[in-house]
Symmetry: C2
Subunit: 639 residues, 2 copies
């Protein structure tokens, strides 16, 4: 089977140097003239010199009369001076030019009208009183903005004030986006419920279009082209001429259906194929005829990183702008993170401030996980020559969300429960909103996070087999010496989630031992796992006889989803997860789910709001509607 082989991979720095030297030269942006009022976000193509001064004349800064200050000298309450209207004194409103010969304005409320032709002045004015001098703000011919200046909303004010009604700006770079892939569906109206798609909805081109607009360029999207060299070539040939830059999405990898490279080599030149970055390796940089072309990898995170690290600097360079940098903070990784030597890795992380330190928790690293970017607070670049991050060494994090949102985020670590989404949603409706971030690592993981001081609260449902009590025995034994408060969230039903109609006729845990039943388990340390193991022991059932006992998932929904897809016949989980995707449910136990909050956090404004929401009627009402929950003691503090 034929396969394209990558060229010798380049580092990102090398690839960027090639883009900056060889690729930028291929783009010849012209200029255009636009009304200043439509110019926000555009980049000046020439230095702009003031055409008029601002103010354009000496003008009144108050409503009143313009006079020559000298003519009022000596005026007092006792011996006022009279001035003739329309000859020595002239009515003016704020912004009006003051008549020739005058040099001061007296406020209207200090003016005493004697008759229709005379005013009386009872206090002397000083020269230039209440007058804005011509050119006070801008003087004709001074440079207002240099070339390569990006116009802001404020700048429109300075430009109009200096007499610019239309200005010459750089044309927006036109970027052609060609999504390729036979498996891709256009995101048009399709009925997802009745036609479960066997294809994947194309999204990269729309994400990139959004980023291109943010960068001051103009996306031109083509419909999806199937994996067919002839059709891709046709798409490029019919369009390349009218744009400044071409992005071909997918097909730049090294598979049998990856045609981008050979098509470019036929009609141009490939400068880079393969960058030692992760995600983003299969990026390609070349020239198609006389147009620059970038092969963007097909996985969503790779596509975004290839865009941001390669295309964004190029667009900024041709527009003459500095590449925008994301704000940065330093944070401690919550665990050791090994990374591949020789590859620059872009790790997506959640960031939280606990005590005086910021901590970064890694999100899934797969390049297909778009939610690892949408959930991320920041990015850590692990350099090419690093083997990874250590827990006790702070590293730089580029923030993807506003800093104030991160400071206003409550981080919960521990067991997963669907009512946390309800909580998150209600917190987001406050003003100012409180953001809620939950990491599903199981109940025991939550307790350990509290001990390490890397979360605001932990969610637990840990049955103590000795006493039959929930949570408190674990808190007492694992969190010795740490003062905590425990807020009860919900009682919930755990049970076996089975396929719709229960085709295998499963009635209880005993049936898990049957040869025709495949089970999906939860990870060690999760409350559900503790519950399962305890109940199996009580019933004297041998876990080693359960098929699939060793296969673990991390959330209730993942268990339900595994059952729904037919990979497993049963898994232990909560009723609401089964209901959410319409599966059957066999109740096994009712359990208590509590939140553990370090006492030092408890008075924090945002934690207080979390507790308030939990105690609100709206929260309880919404949770009840989900089914499988008992809110009779929700919000109570346990001791």
């Amino acid at each position: 089977m034929k396969r394209t082989i990558y060229l010798k991979k380049k580092t990102l720095a090398e690839a960027r140097a090639i883009v900056s030297s060889k690729i930028a030269k291929l783009i010849h942006l012209g200029t255009e003239t636009v009304p200043v009022v439509d110019a926000i976000g555009r980049v000046t193509a020439e230095p702009l010199y003031a055409k008029i001064s601002s103010p354009p004349f000496h003008c009144a800064a108050m409503d009143g009369i313009a006079i020559k200050a000298e003519s009022t000298y000596g005026a007092t309450e006792e011996s006022p001076k009279s001035l003739r209207l329309h000859q020595e004194a002239f009515f003016v409103n704020t912004g009006n030019p003051i008549p020739a010969g005058t040099d001061a304005v007296i406020m209207i409320e200090d003016v005493h009208l004697v008759d229709s032709e005379t005013v009386e002045i009872r206090e002397a004015a000083y020269p230039w009183q209440h007058v804005r001098a011509m050119g006070e703000d801008v003087i004709t011919t001074e440079m207002v903005f240099p070339e390569n200046h990006k116009i802001t909303a404020y700048d429109v004010g300075a430009l109009l004030a200096s007499g610019h009604l239309r200005i010459c700006v750089k044309r927006r770079p036109k970027v052609l986006i060609v999504p390729t892939g036979s498996e891709l569906l256009e995101p048009v109206e399709i009925d997802l419920k009745s036609n479960p798609p066997s294809n994947i909805i194309e999204s990269n081109s729309y994400v990139l279009s959004g980023l291109i607009i943010e960068d001051g360029a103009q996306p031109v999207r083509r419909p999806v082209v199937e994996d067919n060299a002839k059709k891709i070539r046709e798409a490029l040939l019919s369009d390349y001429n009218s744009v400044d830059l071409i992005l071909v999405i997918a097909g730049s990898s090294a598979g049998s259906e990856d045609y981008t490279r050979s098509i470019i080599e036929e009609s141009g030149e490939v400068f880079v194929h393969g960058i030692s970055m992760m995600p983003g390796k299969p990026t390609l940089i070349g020239r198609f005829k006389d147009r620059p072309i970038i092969g963007i990898p097909g996985y969503p995170v790779s596509a975004i990183l290839a865009y941001e690290e390669v295309v964004r600097p190029l667009l900024h360079q041709v527009l003459g702008l500095m590449r925008p940098e994301k704000p940065k903070i330093r944070a401690f990784p919550t665990r050791k993170i090994p990374s591949k030597l020789g590859t620059e890795e872009f790790l997506r992380v959640k960031v939280g401030r606990f005590g005086e330190r910021f901590f970064a928790t890694p999100l899934p690293r797969g390049s297909g996980m778009i939610t690892s970017l949408t959930k991320a607070d920041g990015l850590i670049r692990i350099p090419v020559h690093s083997e990874g991050l250590n827990e006790d060494e702070a590293v730089e994090v580029e923030l993807l969300r506003p800093f104030e949102e991160i400071l206003n985020t409550v981080t919960m670590v521990g067991s997963h429960d669907l009512t946390l989404d309800v909580l998150a949603n209600l917190l987001g409706k406050l003003y100012p909103p409180v953001f809620f971030s939950s990491h599903a690592v199981g109940s025991l993981g939550g307790i350990l996070a509290i001990r390490k001081g890397i979360c605001h609260m932990a969610g637990l449902h840990l049955l103590d087999p000795e006493t039959g009590e929930y949570n408190l025995p674990y808190i007492r034994s694992y969190l010795k010496g740490i003062e905590v408060r425990v807020v009860h969230l919900v009682f919930r039903e755990q049970g076996l989630i089975v396929q719709r109609g229960n085709p295998k006729g499963i009635k209880g845990l005993e049936d898990l031992l049957r040869k025709d039943v495949r089970f999906i388990n939860r990870q060690k340390g999760s409350g559900t796992r503790v519950l399962l193991d305890h109940t199996l022991k009580t019933l004297s059932l041998d876990p080693s006889e359960i098929q699939g006992y060793e296969k673990e998932e991390y959330t209730h929904m993942a268990v339900a989803s595994t059952v729904s897809s037919g990979i497993a016949d049963a898994g232990l989980g909560i009723l609401s997860a089964a209901k959410a995707i319409d599966l059957d449910f066999i109740p096994i136990a009712k359990e208590r789910y509590d939140l553990v909050i370090p006492a030092v956090q408890f008075e924090d404004e945002k934690i207080r709001r979390v507790v308030e929401i939990i105690r609100s009627d709206e929260f309880k009402k919404t949770v009840l509607q989900m089914g499988g929950y008992d809110v009779s003691r929700t919000g109570e503090e346990l001791t």
Copy 2:
């Protein structure tokens, strides 16, 4: 004369509390459904749960064949296994669903086709090899985004992946903008050269429109309404019903032509009139019928601050978003800055990093100075209960420009010269650009700034009367102990700038003593002033006999502008300033203008680029074209 009196002024905090409680309630945003691909920047009106999982099925992560891993166990190079195509092995491309019964993918280049119906496997596959499991990224029914979430470009990827093609978002708040003022011109095509305007171009409404769009709302601008209560009332009555919020620009002050307050009182209620902030005092907050209305002051800086401090938080509140905060740094004021007790002042500043510290230099404080915002790097809030800032106490600065631009800015303090604009412009064309910021404080001011360590370079043209030498004697005496480098910029012609055609027949400095000649001087400490005083002394002319000797301006252009407007008949300045606005010029002296750069700065990359540009042919050529300059030794280092 009748005058509106302010209500008892509110602090900004009090005014905001009223907006947040009384005004926000008056806005009832509905929702609308939009295609996800057009939803960037919109705010979710409900929590969005995944409609499908992503991937929606187990799918191939590579091009190859899908098989059941079990069927390959034991396969080696020596004893390969044969699988029947279309029954045990199925060709798949990246992204395709794997057929029921298969659980792994073998890459196409490891597949050996025996005949059209058989493939040979030479290495065992492991389960889930090269397969992306259904729901790996998103699981059906999980919450993808909560309510009140602002959609980013990345989010479009997550929404499409989770089956959302259209989503329900909040309607954009519609904001009516009514600019008022009889002195205002619409910024349509007018010939400024042949018709010097006696009016002022309306700009506030366009600046606010830009800010409103940034804030996710929708501006609806009305043409300028003149200062006439009836017409303003009519404009409001015909429009208020179709919008969520009304901004009336100007007319909310306390002058005779300020109608906003009385119009609102007729048909609604005024909650706040006058906020103890500067700029921005004449802000008004009220209700017009059932619509919220904000009276925005007419001066441009006041208008922007009233918008950003009062309207922006309101728009964010009704959209359910956090108010965006500007990034902040701490900087030392370059001088003591007194401020009015009882008023919250918003001071615009230039920011620079010199050594380890950031310094903030105040810009002009007038509310009519739009360039004090467009030139500013940041804002300092001087609190209501403060009397000002001290030189040695660092204060918080909210940044108005990206931090990396500030770090990449060269700050020059000292004498003003028009060639600095040429330099600034050429630096902005580099990649990445270097920004150039110059503060005109006179030559001596520049020397003092070097001594205080609050600039990167100083521009001087200081004649030493004793030796007749330029600059170096001053450097030796004022900068003792500071190692500096001196780079020669230009020789330039100084002379008397007089009105076009020289109507007063001025021939030299002697004529300044004439009774019919009014002079405009430069400030003490400027090189031009030193030159004037030295030359007057040489000629035995008595400065006290010069009319206007005590009137000072800070730049050559300001002097030229004063002459041009007829306020003065002559001023000393450079030829290029006279030429720029077409005035006549009587040469007096040729002088040397040099740049002094502390040696510690000289190796800094951005300073190196400045020196490179000064030495470039392009710089010299452009300067020569301006006239009045000699570039024969430009760029030479002096010792």
